[in-house]
């Protein structure tokens, strides 16, 4: 009998893990709470650092698993361990009996309206990075019309005790630089500002992108967190920050302000971790058994983890972790078979 593996979440981690499990000879089943596969990637236009098309990447992930069973618009309601198996009740009355569960529930974007002072949802000129990405992809959602000044606010919902998110979301810095360059490509006459606290260009070629933003696109990087946003008489967005590098308060009126919303733990993770008895850390993400050597291990027998469910991650990191988890599941199931 071929072991079935339940994959919770049809984003990059879930898709890649499904592919690997297929290749290893298992029968993965994907449960996705949304009506499409791909997670956040499906809503993205281009990826850092080199501007690869998100659609192409997603195609590469979905194509190999097109025959894998997928439950869309479905969530896990109950999971019971019965001997070597899990009896998993899904919404809509369906049930799956599986040998292992892989949690790839991903993350949620920080709801920008929680940072009231930035006026998201109140001022027309204030949008989020995902709104901008959607606009890049579809030209829809927000109205961007030849802006002359555009600002990016880094760390919105990250590194901020005030909204109870201490962690760095890791990907927003480079995303902001990427989007700033894209704005300059689309509107070469515009002036673009990035308001950052630290620029965390940790990955290969990220620094190159940053350098390009500086010397090719002349994006102006201002070190200082935006303190407040308001609207002036003409409808422009007025922002205040400190230019900490010259120790002076700073004010600028912008046509468009993009909030780099950070990654927070998935809004559904509280319920899911309850169902699966997973450990959650203070920051809301799932705590793996070992944060260095076993990121894929939930600490609960038969339940594995992959991707941003254990913290903010880039797509390549997520995919590597998905492969690692698939292999861990394979080892787990093989050992069981021997026993």
């Amino acid at each position: 009998m071929t072991d079935r593996v339940l994959i919770i979440g049809g984003g990059p981690a879930g898709l890649e893990a499904a592919n690997q499990l297929n290749l290893l000879g298992y029968k993965p089943v994907i449960v996705e709470k949304d009506d499409t596969l791909g997670g956040h990637l499906a809503k993205w236009d281009r990826l850092f650092p080199e501007g690869e098309s998100a659609e192409t990447v997603l195609y590469k992930l979905i194509k190999p698993v097109e025959h894998t069973p997928v439950y869309l618009n479905t969530i896990v309601e109950q999971a019971d361990k019965e001997g070597n198996h899990f009896r998993v009740k899904l919404s809509g009355g369906k049930e799956e009996i599986v040998s292992a569960i892989l949690v790839c529930a991903g993350f949620s974007l920080f709801p920008a309206e929680k940072k009231e002072e930035y006026g998201y949802g109140i001022y027309n000129g204030v949008i989020t990075s995902s709104d901008l990405e959607k606009w890049f992809k579809t030209g829809k959602g927000v109205n961007i019309n030849n802006p002359s000044k555009v600002g990016f606010v880094h760390c919105v919902g990250s590194r901020d005790e005030k909204i109870c998110n201490r962690q760095c979301s890791k990907v927003c810095c480079v995303t902001a630089v990427k989007q700033a360059c894209e704005i300059k490509e689309k509107f070469p006459d515009s002036e673009v500002f990035c308001f950052y606290m630290d620029l965390r260009m940790f990955g290969r070629k990220y620094e190159d992108l940053y350098l390009k933003a500086q010397n090719k696109y002349r994006v102006r990087f201002i070190r200082g967190r935006v303190s407040e946003v308001s609207e002036d008489f003409t409808g422009k967005v007025v922002i205040k920050a400190e230019d900490t590098l010259s120790s002076k308060p700073l004010k600028v009126s912008l046509d468009l302000l993009v909030l780099m919303t950070g990654m927070i733990s998935n809004s559904s993770i509280e319920e899911l971790s309850g169902i699966l008895s997973l450990n959650r850390a203070e920051d809301g993400f799932i705590e793996p058994a070992d944060t260095i050597t076993k990121m894929y291990d939930s600490g609960k027998e038969g339940i594995f983890l992959a991707g941003a469910v254990t913290g903010p991650k880039t797509i390549p990191e997520t995919l590597s972790e998905a492969r690692a988890s698939a292999l861990a599941i394979h080892n787990y199931l093989s050992n069981k078979a021997i026993q």
Binding site: L211, N215, D243, L245, S246, K248, P249, L250, K251, V252
Partner: protein
């Protein structure tokens, strides 16, 4: 006329809506490298004259970009042109050239 004993305090705010950084842009045209500054402070740390005076190429560049030319130039007073800052700059900015250009613009302005 001031019979109140106080007046409006001058603002230290950088107002990018009205700031005029034309000097910065002129220097940028002559030394495009300055756009790549990452404010690491190597130039200040290595400055020969910095042992004796408040000299900060990094901060001067910032103030210049904000259009605060007088304050910026004050931070370059005393530069000995030794070029150590150029040698240590991790971005390879020709800091010395930028200073020369600023000195010259001062001359013209």
């Amino acid at each position: 006329m001031n019979r109140f004993g106080y007046r409006l305090s001058p603002s230290s705010q950088i107002d990018l809506d009205v700031s005029d950084n034309s000097l910065f842009r002129q220097i940028l045209a002559g030394e495009p490298g300055i756009s790549t500054c990452i404010s690491c402070g190597s130039c200040v740390a290595s400055c020969s004259a910095g042992v004796f005076d408040k000299i900060s190429f990094r901060k001067a560049l910032h103030l210049l970009e904000a259009g605060m030319d007088t304050e910026a130039v004050a931070l370059l007073e005393g530069c000995m042109m030794c070029g150590k800052c150029t040698l240590v700059c991790p971005r390879g900015i020709n800091t010395r050239h930028a200073i020369v250009l600023i000195k010259r613009k001062l001359n013209k302005g």
